[in-house]
């Protein structure tokens, strides 16, 4: 096989991995602050449909992406309100958000099925994009580059700044954080909103880069894969890069194996099976390294009952 084949595999891998990276990064922040949001799938698909519709009506990619981010934030605030302020069950609330998002997106998108949307074009970085094999990395869209920068910045904030310490404290021991004067509710709200905004952005990537069309249910479980990737990444933004592109790679391989006559539906099972396998391995690794989920993940913080 010639080099252009491998280059196309890498290219598909990056396109498939980027939306996962955004959603995973967002969920890492939410979970680090102690909020488990299983609504990622719903927020992603709402991001996808919003970006598609806004992009199509205004013709502006900036508007499309910003609207998707705002919609993601709005949805995540519903989850934050229900689970932080009203102390509802976080698992059920997240599931409800996913159902709601899948449903609403399909109602909003029905008039747009099959119509072409607008999409990001590649930015070619001179010289670097000519490198054989690695070239595809340097001729991608703006959102791809942004995702990598974001991963590094988010890692830095989480592990090297005061704000990061506060976020992690809320997820590990909210009572202690509260005693030190940290506003636990505020930080949890903010981190959940970051999670929502990035899930919306991940969804926007699907409908403005991966495939500039609206297809009902087009996230196809990617939100759930992102939730699993958070565990795979041990809640670290840098490891999330590895996880996201590993999964992008699986999608790329799946795409290329079609040529060998393996039924598409059998190949279509691969990302989900791979996610389950990866979860098995990351859990055993988590146990071995004694390095696990934020201790207060999913537990509402009730000041009076401290």
């Amino acid at each position: 096989m010639d080099i252009s084949f491998y280059e196309s595999v890498i290219s598909t891998m990056l396109v498939a991995g980027t939306p996962l990276l955004y959603s995973t990064l967002g969920e890492i922040y939410a979970e680090r602050s102690g909020v488990l949001n299983l609504g990622v799938e719903g927020m992603m698909i709402m991001g996808a449909v919003t970006a598609f519709i806004v992009g199509k009506t205004t013709g502006s990619l900036i508007f499309a992406v910003s609207a998707a981010v705002l919609v993601g934030i709005a949805l995540s605030l519903i989850h934050a309100f229900v689970s932080i302020t009203m102390r509802g069950n976080q698992i059920v609330s997240g599931l409800a958000l996913t159902m709601f998002g899948l449903g609403l997106s399909s109602v909003m998108g029905i008039k747009y099925i099959g119509a072409p949307g607008i999409s990001f074009s590649a930015i070619k970085i001179p010289l670097l994009s000519q490198i054989p094999l690695l070239g595809p990395i340097f001729r991608r869209d703006a959102l791809f580059y942004l995702s990598l920068v974001l991963a590094v910045v988010m890692w830095y904030i989480l592990f090297r700044t005061k704000i990061g310490v506060r976020i992690r404290a809320c997820g590990e021991n909210p009572a202690a954080a509260d005693a030190l004067g940290v506003n636990v509710s505020l930080i949890r709200y903010a981190c959940t909103a970051i999670g929502g905004g990035l899930a919306g952005l991940g969804g926007a990537y699907l409908s403005t880069v991966t495939a500039p069309f609206w297809v009902d249910g087009m996230t196809a479980g990617r939100g759930w894969i992102a939730v699993a990737l958070v565990i795979f990444s041990f809640w670290s933004p840098l490891r999330a890069i590895v996880g996201a592109y590993l999964f992008g790679g699986i999608e790329a391989v799946q795409f290329n194996l079609q040529a060998y006559g393996i039924p598409t539906d059998v190949l279509g099972m691969m990302p989900y099976i791979a996610t389950i396998v990866v979860m098995i391995f990351s859990v055993s690794e988590t146990v071995r390294k004694r390095f696990g989920a934020p201790a207060a993940l999913g537990i509402p913080f009730v000041r009076e009952e401290r």
Partner: protein
């Protein structure tokens, strides 16, 4: 001034009804606003949903038809949820039950009077087996079952597609010509289909199984030592460990019952309604059942009432899909909003709210 939540010890039945009803009313108003944006008169839409589901003889019988799979899935989920085991995979388990039933119904080399029992048995086993995978991962390796059960739904749907587009696809015949037809299996022989109440699509055998399972599961939960162990695992896993309860066993058994019941729901859909396997035969019963189970919780009557409510939404929802040109997803949207409001108002059940200076 701050708002303070004061924990209540006991919740009165009246208060529960009032809070739940208020939540559902608020949810209906919110969905109404979305309908209005969509360009449909919310009052008209709701009228259509209600009359569609409960206003005619056909509507009522169809509501009971939808109640069958929802009740089977919901009862199983209520069981696992009591143990804080989150089986989100009823949809996939239902699909597996349907696949197994179709296979047995079409090809099992057994006497025809045994075919229906064999379909139910194989459906139960297939659903239970599908639930066994995430259950054993959770029980033995502590892998999060929420994500694995959910991902297995996607795998199950892919398996269904693979079968109906591939090896199980029926050949059409005309004279001595054959060609591959629609993406569906051949139609089941008569002895592999369930009888219905005349003039309706109510396959009463599955309905009877569903009601029996409701009773049996609640006896299991409230009258057996297994039920007691399940509750301890749900309320306080640490205490369960100290008390010597075999947590893995509790997880495995409850998950397999839950998966098996969802599998039976799949059998009913194939043998009672569809009479062949085809994509899209389940309209998300397994997901709607999550709400039913969570709402009904410990009370079998509450499970029955909430199942009736959501079956009505499914039937009424199918009418508005046609007359107001709405996608199937509208039902998901409905369910999601109702669930969010129920959750947000849950606090009024367990706490009383006081203003404090």
């Amino acid at each position: 001034m701050r708002i303070a939540f004061v924990k209540k010890e006991k919740v009165s039945f009246k208060r529960m009804i009032a809070v739940r009803a208020a939540a559902i009313l608020l949810a209906l108003i919110s969905v109404g606003i979305i309908f209005w944006f969509y360009g449909a008169d919310p009052i008209e839409v709701y009228k259509e949903i209600f009359l569609g589901a409960f206003g005619t003889k056909i509507g009522i019988s169809e509501t009971i038809v939808k109640l069958i799979p929802l009740l089977l899935c919901g009862v199983g989920l209520a069981l696992v949820f009591r143990g804080q085991i989150w089986n989100i995979g009823a949809e996939g388990q239902l699909v597996l039950g349907a696949i197994a039933a179709t296979g047995v119904g079409l090809w099992a080399p057994i006497p025809s009077y045994l075919v229906i029992p064999a379909m139910f048995l194989s459906g139960f086993l297939a659903g239970a087996a599908w639930a066994f995978i995430p259950a054993v991962l959770r029980a033995k390796m502590n892998v999060n079952e929420i994500i694995t059960t959910l991902l297995m739904n996607y795998i199950a749907i892919r398996l269904l597609y693979y079968l109906v587009y591939g090896p199980w696809r029926a050949r059409e015949e005309w004279g001595n010509m054959t060609w591959s037809g629609f993406a569906q299996t051949a139609i089941l022989p008569d002895y592999a289909t369930l009888q219905t109440i005349p003039g309706t699509r109510i396959h009463y055998i599955t309905l009877a199984i569903a009601i029996a399972s409701l009773i049996l599961v609640y006896l299991l939960m409230n009258r057996t030592s297994f039920g007691y162990e399940l509750k301890v695992v749900g309320d306080n896993p640490m205490a369960a460990r100290f008390a010597g309860i075999n947590i893995s066993r509790v997880i495995l058994i409850s998950m397999m019952i839950s998966g098996g019941l969802a599998g039976i729901a799949g059998v009913g859909e194939i043998a009672g309604i569809q009479h062949r396997l085809r994509p899209g035969f389940s309209v998300g019963y397994g997901y709607t059942a999550i709400i039913i189970a969570w709402l009904g919780g410990l009370n079998p009557i509450a499970v029955l009432i909430s199942t009736l409510f959501f079956s009505g939404i499914l039937v009424g929802g199918s009418y508005i899909q046609i007359s107001f040109r709405m996608p199937v997803g509208v039902i998901n949207m409905f369910n999601g909003i109702i669930l969010l409001f129920l959750l947000a108002t849950e606090v009024f059940l367990n706490y009383s709210i006081r203003m404090r200076r």
